[in-house]
């Protein structure tokens, strides 16, 4: 019962999640195997969006909450690594593919 009311309270979110799952599957359905690694790397960069959570946590931390400040700071660094490193490394891989085409 609670599960059902939860469903109807969060129906939009549930719709978004389900549609996103379908989209994720559809969108890469036809990827040729040479692109598996760059695609994996690009997807890796996209989930770096978790950095936004780290920024929010960090930006809401009180000035005397050292646990939150230090862990949040670490989270921001790690999240940035994921995003920046992810996109740059993907671009490097794909640059290789590009160069060969010409």
């Amino acid at each position: 019962m609670t599960a059902l009311t939860w469903i109807s309270a969060n129906q939009e979110m549930i719709y978004i999640v389900i549609l996103m799952i379908f989209l994720g599957i559809e969108v890469i359905g036809r990827v040729p195997s040479v692109l598996h690694t760059p695609l994996m790397s690009g997807a890796n960069a996209i989930h770096g969006v978790v950095i936004i959570g780290a920024i929010i946590v960090m930006g809401k931390a009180e000035h005397d909450n050292y646990l939150a400040l230090s862990l949040g700071f670490l989270a921001v660094i790690l999240g940035t690594l994921n995003v920046v490193g992810g996109f740059v490394v993907t671009d490097r891989m794909l640059e290789m593919f590009k160069k060969k085409k010409k």
Binding site: M13, I16, M20, I21, L23, G24, I25, V27, I28, G29, V31, P32, V34, L35, H36, T37, L39, S41, G42, A43, N44, A45, I46, H47, G48, V49, V50, I52, G53, A54, I55, I56, M58, G59, K60, L67, L71, G72, F73, A75, V76, I77, L78, T80, L81, N82, V84, G85, G86, F87, V88, V89, D91, M93, L94, E95, M96, F97, K99, K100
Partner: protein, 469 residues
């Protein structure tokens, strides 16, 4: 007003992620797709920093935030720019681990926050926090182990009954999380948090350790989708649509990609994840089972002569070429033969090497031109008109057992039909089997001659020989 603009930023971010991922799966647009997704990410991050409000209050601690962004940005860029082409999978694994750790840290801070601010606690909230914690730390620990294995820092490690132990750890994690969630209005004890964190990390390590190093790309892809789900938990927590959509998108796409990667190797995901345990024993048995007879060797100078006077040579690169870092000298050989009027091409098997596209990336690094690379089907069409096939550190991808031996672990995998050519020269260091751990009958066939030695060394010697011809 500002918050509405932020909503729009997030919407743009979500859309670019979808479009970016779509373009990433199409060779002609892949690079642009990556840049589009990166642009969307930048918009979403900048929007968050400057426009985010919670209860009418803006973010603070800008110094910390920008500090973290700058440090992470610089390290990330440098690491990504410096890494060698062949070490890219390791790098992806490491970045993936960072994302997982980030998600776990967020959960820790949020848990701490609600544990110390006894307002009304929503069990759903606690559930999401734990989900982020567990999935994020499994992904972190697993990615670090995968990174270490690809690096050669960690070897395989398994003990009997490890499956059972893994399942028990998982059950304990789930049960204690459920307990805390269920009783979240009564008690929120931090010791639970750290216990669950420790067990999740342990599970991540145990999950990846026994899996063979060559299967790491598949594992990384799986952990990648885990991190996606962990990011989506953050999206639920802050009702943040861009985190939610980005995370779920990667979670779903990553899962499918994992399956596609397995399929390209003609294996099931289950087989990759737990098959590694007993498999080695049985395949060793199979290898010793048949008596393969004698193989022929060819001398360096003979090989040099044969190739120089051939009109068409096809090079089949494999994992050994990557290990030996022989791509540059290989390109040199190719140029030298081309100068002598030989038509030289490369036959690229989709799963040659240890990651999809491995050979393409490797040869691209050595500036081999793209139109010299043939895909498997094309190559198989051209073998009949080929004089010499030079197999460089490849093994499974040219193993005829895949076509004939139904009991072989690689049965059914499409292979490069090198035997259609007039002559096959195989370079490897010994008669040892390759990744799948099985004997290769090709080496004993009449058309085949072995040319033993490290690929780089052999190629250098070949180049020298041909120069002196």
């Amino acid at each position: 007003m500002e918050f509405s603009i932020l909503t729009l930023c997030y919407l743009v971010g979500s859309v670019t992620f979808i479009i970016g991922l779509k373009m990433l799966s199409d060779p002609a647009n892949a690079r642009k797709g990556n840049l589009i997704a990166a642009a969307g990410m930048t918009i979403a991050i900048a929007g968050t920093i400057f426009l985010y409000e919670s209860d009418g209050e803006k973010l603070h601690n800008y110094g910390w935030i920008f500090g973290g962004l700058i440090i992470g940005g610089i390290i990330g860029t440098l690491a990504a720019k410096k890494v060698q082409m062949t070490a890219m999978p390791e790098m992806v694994s490491l970045f993936n681990g960072m994302g997982g750790a980030c998600a776990a840290l967020i959960s820790i801070i949020e848990f701490d926050h609600i544990a110390n601010n006894p307002v009304v606690v929503n069990p759903g909230h606690v559930l999401i926090i734990f989900a982020g914690l567990v999935i994020g730390s499994v992904s972190f620990a697993g990615s670090i182990v995968a990174w270490g294995k690809l690096n050669g820092k960690f070897g395989d490690f398994a003990f009997s009954g490890q499956h059972i132990v893994n399942i028990i750890i998982l059950l304990v994690v789930v049960a204690s999380s459920a307990y805390v969630v269920y009783n979240s209005d009564v008690e929120l004890n931090e010791s639970f948090l750290y216990g669950i964190l420790a067990l999740s990390l342990l599970y991540g390590v145990f999950f990846v350790l026994p899996i063979g190093g060559a299967d790491m790309p598949v594992v990384i892809s799986l952990l990648n989708s885990f991190t996606g789900v962990a990011a989506a938990c953050g999206g639920f927590l802050y009702e943040n649509k861009v985190m939610l959509t980005g995370g779920i998108l990667v979670g779903a796409a990553g899962t499918l990609l994992t399956i596609l990667m397995c399929r390209a190797m003609n294996r099931s995901l289950k087989n990759v994840l737990i098959g590694s345990f007993g498999a080695s024993g049985s395949s060793k048995g199979a290898a010793g089972g048949k008596d393969q007879g004698q193989y022929k060797e060819v001398s360096l100078s003979d090989a040099a002569v044969v190739m120089s006077y051939a009109s068409k040579v096809m090079i089949v690169p494999g994992y050994g070429l990557a290990v030996a870092q022989a791509q540059h000298v290989c390109h040199e050989l190719e140029k030298m033969l081309a100068e002598k009027g030989v038509d030289v091409k490369y036959a690229i098997h989709p799963v040659a090497g240890r990651m999809p596209g491995h050979m393409n990336v490797l040869l691209a690094e050595a500036d081999v031109s793209y139109d010299k690379l043939l895909e498997m089907e094309q190559a198989n069409d051209e073998f009949p008109s080929t004089d010499v096939v030079l197999v460089l550190g490849a093994n499974d991808v040219v193993n005829p057992a895949a076509k004939t031996d139904t009991s072989s672990p690689i049965y059914g995998m499409p292979i490069l039909d090198v035997e259609l050519a007039k002559m096959v020269i195989v370079n490897k260091r010994s008669m040892k089997p390759g990744y799948a751990g099985i004997e290769n009958e090709l080496f004993f066939r009449p058309k085949t001659s072995m040319l033993f030695g490290d690929a780089k060394k052999v190629l250098q010697d070949l180049v020298a020989e041909i120069k002196n011809l």
